[in-house]
Amino acid sequence: MMETFSLLPLEPVQWAWGVVLFWLALGFAALLLQRVPHLLSRLVFPLGALGALFIAGVGVAGLLLPTSTIILPIGLPDLPFHLRLDALSAFFMVLLGGAAFGITVYASGYFKSMAAGPLALLALWYHLFLGGMVTVLLANDAYAFMVAWEVMALSSYFLVTTDHKVPEIRRAGFLYLLIAHVGAISLLLTFGVLQGGQGDYTFDTMRMAEMTPFWASAAYLLALFGFGAKAGMVPLHVWLPEAHPAAPSPVSALMSGVMLKTAIYGLLRVTFDLLNIQIGWWGTLALALGLITALYGVIFAAVQSDMKRLLAWSSIENIGILLAAFGLTLIFYTDGKGALAALTLTALLYHALNHAFFKGLLFVGTGSVLHATGVRHMGHLGGLMRFMPWTAWLTLIGALAIAGLPPLNGFVSEWLLLQAFLQTPGLTQPYLNMVIPVAAATVALAAALAAYVMVKFFGIVFLGQPRDPALHEAHEAGWPERLGMLWLAAGCVLLGLFPTQVIGWLAPVVSLLTNQSLVNDGNWLMLAPVSAERASYAPLIFFAVVGVVLLLTYIWVRRVYHGRVRRSDPWDCGYPEQDARMQDSAEGFGQPIRQIFEVFMKVERETPDPFSRSPHYHGASLDKAWFIFYVPIARVTNWLSEQAGRLQHGRIQWYLIYSFATLIFLLVFTTR
């Protein structure tokens, strides 16, 4: 095996592992560089970003080249790490590298002003986190997978609790850790089922294992639970709106844009690769859970007042859409409609890639706002477009993309998914035909609500008058931040304008999982996934026509007429004394949604006393899932531990009696 290392050119999987080692080295080098803090942000993070770019390149190579594997003699004596890079891993590596590059470039500017000690630790965890995610994608045995999964979970836990002196952040971190580990236990059990009693935990053995439908379903359900906990599937989503605001913005971007996708990767890996059989109702279940998650997420996103919490809820929505696409893929696949499964899977992968870019962009955009103003609550922001034009315009691209507007990337994946929904008359199970129109309607509703959420987010934070006089001092982000955002925004635009090329790159992944590939019926300009007669979309032409009409209108209006402009006070129906407090607050903008969907929420309101001299209003729409699912569990756990606590008296006699009783019991038990 050492010989293969000496051979050049190396295989992609070896390059990928090399980058992981490079990141590790970089992380530990950061600890040594504490004495020279300016090097930390100027050297360590840019080098880390280069590593991310390289990983994206390795991913592209992995999509083009055949599968490559290596076995690394690390870990326990008889349990080496098996690593493997196939098309599925390679695609998620492109996603990871592409998004992480922009985010890490941004991070190199963002963390500039941090104190050296915490920054060095943060750099260590950050690069461990990146390395852990890549290893999750590479792992080819359950042992390596779980080790990498834990590295990913723990390093991100430490990243979330960067500001560990704030009690809420510690609490958020604990909740994250807890749910991550509940999920991890479920994943361990999944692999336990998958190995089928052979005692060998490599994925290769699992692929060979013959499963009864019962055990296959058990493995699938455990995987859905485990990966769902990581992805933020309702009702396992409660950690997301807590952990994302707590983490520093580039970390939230990485967690939301990339880490959630590793759960989608795992779900695809287990369901389509490791399991030999797939059963129809699995898909229906995932579709239903996905739709609930999507709708639930977007409704709560609309009523948030904290900008990062809003984005976290929007991530839940997008995970829901991905899950729904996953379910639909399974439905088509088990029904023997390979071509349609390929279409849906393409939509899924495309959306995952898109979400990495636009959600990364939006999170780092909020990071710049946070840096410039120190405020996360949207009710204290406003009018930032004038002070931070770069951040504002780039964030606008992200907001339009996530709202699913053409010609940006969010629209393409939404379009593909809706096309897939329109293909359902081909299904053989009649009841699904009835359910799926409702599903399509739900997806459309979630997408329209996403536009509401984004108008609220962008309008309240960046437009209007500053709601606080201190905002006039807000400063624009520095160049590394701008470059990072530019990269992510360029991703949103290019993924929107060149869908045919992107789909071409996705083809190896799709054919790996569904044995079918999506044939584009149009030319390079035109996306026509089923047939040109059925549906087509040409974003470049679309973009060009909008551009030409815009330009012609502009020239015509400015040339034919005089084009004079006079500046004055706002009119507002002639009302003269208006101030920033008369604009909609974040709560106000979300009020219609709260009123319509109040059944899902527990609304808390504190209205001020009419005679109060300093009136204060407080309103919050709390997640009912928390009170339905979590509070009872917490109570029971608390009660149980209290009961167990009774055993502890602190007297040595009692403890000796316990030991004695245990001994007797064990003797009786073993000699019987």
């Binding site: 339009l400 399509a440 549906a535 040409a538 032409i541 209108t553 402009v565 604009q583």
Partner: protein
């Protein structure tokens, strides 16, 4: 192909130029029905001309987005008008954007309008933006469902193919299309800010939606938005006609059928405008929080249409 492109351009230009006329016709009908003396049918053109000649007044704190939005909205509506078949069902441009993209174009224009409304930071602007998004988050999926019903029947999401299928079918009754038509009517009323969801002719803060958003606009920016509004009404009418009353439209290459198609289109538009004015006259504007109920009904009808298609027509 070249005739196709010429026809496409001619059709789009015609839509852009004639859209204010439809607006004028609706206003005229409304005035007659309400017993007022009617403004001339060309009144919208005069308004536009006046607005284009004025100096634009813009608030001190307006951002570039505010000045960019009217052009964007106008471009989106022009594009939408270019996709919908009006006279001839041969549009070389239409494969670039199908019905789902059409919904996307409307959404793009709407989001820009809402953002521009929030840009100055007045109380009415944000209020209008919020209400507009409230109306649209129900109307948009409902519109998609209407299109889905039509495209399930015609096995395509391309508008020319849908229209061709629906126009050349044997005379069969599609119950699903009836549901879709009712839903479409309700959606178009809401999307075009007409009674009972919104009233285009008041500036009453308790009720206005669309007008609240454009309060800060003046002169050429306002003119572009007003024109885009007229274009939107025209596009929606053309869409409704193309989906539910497509008879008479000229097929690809049927140049001889053009005059007849033009006549049919004009007649249908005149009739549609008169019906719109009539319904606006006999109904009252609903309270704002009844609007979601109205649109929720439209959404349910549209989904029901789809379900009925699966139940009865497959």
């Amino acid at each position: 192909m070249s005739t196709g492109i010429l026809l496409q351009l001619a059709q789009t230009l015609l839509a852009i130029l004639l859209a204010p006329l439809l607006m004028g016709w609706v206003n005229q009908c409304r005035a007659w029905l309400q017993g007022r003396s009617a403004p001339p049918i060309t009144q919208p053109y005069r308004t536009l001309k006046k607005l284009f000649h004025k100096d634009a007044v813009i608030a001190h704190n307006a951002s570039p987005l505010f000045r960019f939005a009217p052009y964007m909205i106008f471009a989106c509506m022009a594009l939408a008008a270019g996709i919908v078949p009006t006279i001839v069902n041969d549009l070389p441009f239409s494969p670039a954007a199908d019905v789902i993209a059409l919904v996307g174009i409307f959404a793009l224009a709407r989001v820009f309008l809402a953002l521009a409304a929030m840009d100055i930071g007045t109380s009415f602007g944000t209020l209008g933006a919020r209400r507009e998004m409230l109306v649209s988050f129900l109307a948009e999926p409902a519109l998609l469902m209407v299109f889905f019903t039509a495209s399930l029947i015609s096995q395509s999401t391309e508008l020319p193919i849908i229209v061709q299928t629906l126009a050349h079918q044997k005379f069969a009754i599609y119950p699903s299309l009836a549901f879709a038509a009712v839903a479409f009517w309700m959606i178009s009323v809401a999307e075009n800010a007409r009674i009972p969801v919104d009233n285009p002719s008041t500036h009453l803060e308790l009720t206005m939606i669309h007008e609240a958003m454009i309060l800060e606009y003046s002169a050429r920016h306002l003119a572009l938005i007003e024109w885009a509004v007229a274009l939107k009404l025209f596009t929606y009418s053309a869409l409704g006609i193309a989906l539910f009353l497509p008879w008479g439209i000229a097929g690809r290459g049927e140049l001889a059928a053009l005059p007849l198609a033009l006549l049919a289109m004009v007649a249908k538009l005149l009739l549609g405008g008169a019906v719109l004015a009539f319904i606006e006259t006999i109904s009252a504007k609903v309270r704002l929080f009844r609007a979601p109920e109205f649109l929720g009904t439209a959404f349910l009808l549209a989904v029901l249409g789809m379900l009925i298609h699966f139940l009865l027509e497959v």
